[in-house]
């Protein structure tokens, strides 16, 4: 009998078959995402802190309310990429290599499109205010900038996993790399939603 079965027998477990709970790598990515998510929570909390301490209007210093359209499109694209990623993950769980490769590719392209729009957005916004204008500017650029950095890391992760998928590294039962990349990507998507709501929607309340 295998070592695992022997160990289970010796400690008298209640269930015969060995369970397959989450692996080390999965836990590692969960914890990494937890710490980075806390980073964004703190950044957004700082944004709201400064906002509630600012007695003049918000945005301050005569800066206009952030325009919604481009940011909405960006957020929608990235949210869609989250669903595509989920489809890719589901695909490999059922052993479908093509679904994985196509899904990863589409996610990557959607992420790239987001990045392009984010750069455009940054350039346009910078015509009205920059990080050096005031604290509002510093916060907006820092928050969106931090997100873009995390997104780029996500794109690199997707590219890596994509490369491994081409060499058939993943199977229905073994695809930890895909799970880890997917989890990170969902995190990047959720942070964008939070940024969109906080920086773009709530000033209009």
């Amino acid at each position: 009998m295998t070592t695992v079965a022997y160990a289970r027998r010796t400690t008298e477990p209640t269930v015969e078959a060995a369970p397959r709970s989450a692996s080390n790598g999965w836990w590692g990515m969960v914890l990494f995402v937890a710490t980075e998510a806390t980073l964004f929570t703190v950044l957004l909390a700082s944004y709201f802190y400064i906002r509630f301490k600012t007695s003049s209007g918000w945005p301050p210093d005569g800066i206009a309310d952030p325009k919604l359209l481009r940011a909405l499109v960006m957020t929608a694209l990235l949210t869609a990429s989250g669903f595509v990623m989920y489809a890719a993950e589901t695909g490999i769980r059922r052993g479908r290599q093509r679904a994985l490769v196509l899904g990863l590719g589409a996610t990557f392209l959607l992420g790239l499109a987001f990045l392009g729009l984010q750069i455009w957005e940054t350039v346009v916004v910078a015509r009205e205010f920059t990080p050096r204008t005031d604290t509002y500017g510093s916060l907006v650029f820092t928050i969106t900038g931090a997100h873009s950095v995390h997104l780029v890391v996500g794109l690199l992760l997707l590219a890596w996993v994509q490369g491994r998928a081409w060499f058939r590294a993943y199977t229905a039962g073994r695809h930890l790399g895909v799970q880890m990349a997917a989890m990170y990507w969902y995190f990047v998507v959720v942070v964008q939603v939070a940024i969109f709501v906080s920086l773009y929607l709530t000033p209009r309340i």
Partner: protein, 627 residues
Amino acid sequence: MEAHVERLEKVWAEPAGIVSFLTSVDHKRIGIRYLFTAFAFFIAAGIEAMVMRAQLARPGERLVSPETYDQLFSLHGTTMIFLFVTPMLSGFGNYCVPLMIGARDMAFPRLNALSYWVFLSSGLFIYASVPFGLAPNDGWFNYVPLSDKVFTPDKNIDFYTLGLIFITISTTAGAANFIVTIFKLRAPGMSINRMPLFCWAVLATSFAVIFALPSLTVANTMLELERNWGFHFFQPAHGGDPLLWQHLFWIFGHPDVYIIFLPAIGIVSSVVPVFSRRSIVGYEWLALATVLTGIVGFGVWVHHMFATGLPQISMTFFSAASFMIVIPSGIQIFAWLATMLTGRPVLKTPFLYVLGFVVVFVIGGLTGVMFAAVPFDQQATDSYFVVAHFHYVLFGGAVFPIFAGIHYWFPKMSGRMYHELAGQVSFWLVFVGFNLTFFPMHISGLLGMPRRVYTYPGGLGWDAYNLLSTIGSGVLAAGILVIALNVLWSLRRGPPALSDPWGGNTLEWSTSSPPPHFNFPVIPIVRSADPNWDVEDRRQDALRLERGELLLADGHQTLATTVLEGEAEDELHMPSESVWPFVLALSLSVVFFGLLMKLYGVAILGCILVAGAIAGWHRPQRELQDQ
């Protein structure tokens, strides 16, 4: 049986020399490195303190300039907290956790090595400031606007902010490693309510690290951007708020003191049952108190800001939370006392340091309760009374347990016994020296002496207490010197130690002193919370060795188990030696050097090197099992 052990030895053998030094991923070697490196920083910070005490021995002394004094007190605090006490406890965690849970290594051995190399690099980074007279000089919590560019134009503050962001990588990686190790690598049968309390402590600490460090990183990043890139976060003239720094810092800073305290009391929970010759009283209470302290620790940070003019309602809330947090500590103190009272105390050096811990930490905890009372805080904060308080809780709550741990695990780590009489002498010197140094500070604080002053006038009633403190610091230093000499001497000349010199209850005592590279020849089966006192189970381990069962000798292997019940579920193949952690730490140093010197090309080059090192690290190894 010898054939089985030989097979394990061959698989786990490490090459000799410098290559092995740079590529080892053995948690025991890494743990010992952490201990020595952290202790070296302890000595540095201690020397900084001695110079400060020499300066303050008499009123109007001019031994050092105020500029130098400001760097001394800032480096002292920063070093003690970030470069000594947390890494020292990481060192004990690194060494002891896999052994205590019956595993062969940490869950991520290369990440473990990376944590050490980054710790060393970031410590050297910060101390590189010293020869240039540019050491951090705005205290260990670095308030703005003083730390802004306009008031501190030189690089002192940049060494601080970048150095701390750098070391955060090490601490966070270590925390993730500990959590996964403790969750997944425990021996079969070690359900979560059977694991040693030291592991509960490391687990709670690691979760606190995951959620507390980002706040510090955000604060330091904002300050760097404000100092060097023209951003505005903390400047009222540009819509910012200096108190934002304080909130961000203390949202990290208060949990940080529990990040320091919890592993230390994990050591206490290890020593007390063994030296009371009985199992710990109130295991569930202690585990719960540990977790509660870690959680409630996130809800009290504003008590560092009671003098800043906040609304009374918020101060009252945080005051109530700060009073409440004493209760888990109370549970722990009385659980240990109950264990001692119903046991048979053995007065050897590790236990003496635990007794010292109880006395000193309780005093510190009581003055802590005083600070929860807002009006009293508003008189005593930023005075020598608070300096006394935090030294009592930090030195009492962490350093005494560290000294206990040094003597307790010395035989296991080195295979030799330390000199017991020297140990006892060191305890009394440290205990008397500590109290002589820090108790008088309560009084000078109440008499109105503020903190962080490089000198003071005579005639205010502070002189005698300052002189006593200075004398005490000499006695304390002597005690620490005895510890160091005891360790160094015993490493060479100490008598050989048994695998279990103390009659210990946890699994590290079931293997040899020092343990082989593979820790245990067979993975132990655990049936209670004191597995090394289960004599029959350990005999069964030996029988299994003869039969070659649970050997796991096909490479660097250990067993994965479920999180709560500890049921075996998988065989893990773990990496052996790798140079990538060292290379990655070096690459990160290039990035931070570039940022410090504002050579952004260098920083970008460093990032490319980092990406390369990560890629090299993840090149699929034949050894690694991709689950």
